[in-house]
Amino acid sequence: MISLKINKTLCGAKGEMNLEVDLKIKQGEFLAISGESGAGKSTLLRILAGLEEAEGDVIVNGQNWRNFPVQKRQIGFVFQDFGLFENMSVEQNLLFVAKDRALAKELLEITQLRELKNRKPNTLSGGQKQRLALARAFMSRPKILLLDEPLSALNHKMRVELQKEIVKLHKRFGCTTLMVSHDASDIYRMASYVIVMELGKIIKEGTAKDVFSTNSSYLSGEILEVQKDIVVVLVGQQLVELKISNNKQFSVGDHIELESYLAF
C-alpha cells in the first residue's frame, strides 16, 4: 500500500500553484494519472521516486520515505525522453542496473530487443528506445513502477503492442504501477484505477469507464474542412464526414456536438 499526502508549491506556465495530493494506492494496482499539461502529474511521480522534495509524507508498506534516498527506493522509472545510458549498449543498459543476466535475457526477449542487444541507444528507433527504457525499469525488480507518458510519440500499432507488453510485465513482476498518460485508450486498456488532476489537485477518480464516460449521448468534435454541404469533423482521432442537413453556416475550427447512440 502506498499512501501519499503531499504538498508542494510549483511554478508553472500558469504561475504559481499548489500541488496538493492525498492518495492511497493498493499493492499491485495499475493507477493512471491523467489531466492537462502542467497539472503536476510528472512532479507527483518524481516526488514518489525521491527526485524532488515535497512537504508531507510518502508511506510505502508502512515505511515513511521522507529522507529515504532515491537509490534505496527500488523503483523503476520510464521517463518521457527515456534517459537511456548513451555510452552503453542495449544489454549493458540493463546490466548496469543489476548484474542479473538471466533477467536481462528474459526482458530482452519480452521486449523483442534480443537481436539488438549490442546496439547503442542512439541507433535505435523511438519504439525500440521506449522498449529498452521499459526493460531497464524492470531490471531492479521494482516494487513500484513509474511511467511518465511511456507511449507518447508512438504510432497506433506500436502503441497497442507496447500496451500489451507493459500489462504483461506489470503482471509478471506484480509491481504497483503509476502511469501518467493523456490517452484514454492507453488508460482504458491498462489501468485499473484512474485519477484526473487539474492545477495540482485530484478532481476526479474511479475506473476508466467512470472517469471517461459521459452521461450525455453527445460527442464533441472539431470541424477541419467545410465543403459545399459536407463538413469533415475530427472526433477523438477519427475523421468523420457529415452531411449538413439544415442551412446552418459552419467554419473551420468550430467545435460542434454530435448526437450518438453509442456513447457510454
Binding site: 521516486a49 527526485l51 532515491v70 537509490q71 534505496k72 527506493r73 527500488q74 523503483i75 523503476g76 522509472f77 521517463f79 518521457q80 525522453d81 527515456f82 534517459g83 537511456l84 545510458f85 548513451e86 555510452n87 548496469f96 542496473v97 543489476a98 542512439n122 531497464r136 531490471m139 531492479s140
Partner: protein, 220 residues
Amino acid sequence: MHELFNTLLILDLAPFALSFKLATITTLILFVVTLPLAWILSQSKSKIKPIIESIVSLPLVLPPSVLGFYLLVAFSSFDLAFTFKGLVVASCFYSLPFMVQPLQGGFESLNKNMIESSYIAGKSKWITLFRVALPNIKPALMTALIITFAHTVGEFGVVLMIGGSIPDETRVASIAIYDLMNNLEYGKAHIYSAIMLVISFFVLLSVYIFNHKQFKGVHR
C-alpha cells in the same frame, strides 16, 4: 639556409621539454582535483555556487601579475618561489578555469533523466560520475584536457614572476623566447616562436577534429 640548418642542429630543446613536462603534470593534477568540483558544481543548486564559480574563473580576468604577486607572497613561507614545484602550483591556479569550465559545461549539458536513471538504478553520485556522466561528455573532456595543456604551455606572465628563468628548472619555452629577444638573438627567437605556433595550431586542430567527429557520430 646553411646557417638556419646549423642553428636547428644546435637548438636547445630543454625549454620545450620543460614546458611539456609542466603542462602534463599541471593537466593531470587539475583533472584529478577539479573533476569532482566540476561534477558537484554541475549538480548543485546551492546559493554559494556563483561564489565558487567566480573564484574558479578569476584567473581568466586577473592580470597575471596580480596572481603572480599573491602566489609569491603565499610561496614565501613554503620555499616554492623560483622552483619547478612552484611553477606547477602556479600553473594549477592559472589554468584552473580551462579545466573546470568545459567539464562543468559538459556535465550540465547531459540529459538530466539519464543521470536520474542511474540514481534510480541504485547507483551513487560517484559511480554515476564515472560510469555514466564522464563517458558521455567525451568532447568536453577532450577540450578540457587539451586546452589546459596548451594554455599551460603558452603561459608567460605568472611563470616569469614565480619561476624567473633558471635553465632546466623554470626556463620554459615562452620564457626562453623572451630571453632570446632581450639578447637580440632574433634568429633563434623566430625558430622557437615558429615551433610554439605550429604546436599550438595542431593542438587546437586536434581538439576541433575530435569534437567534430564526436558530433557527427552522435547525429549520424
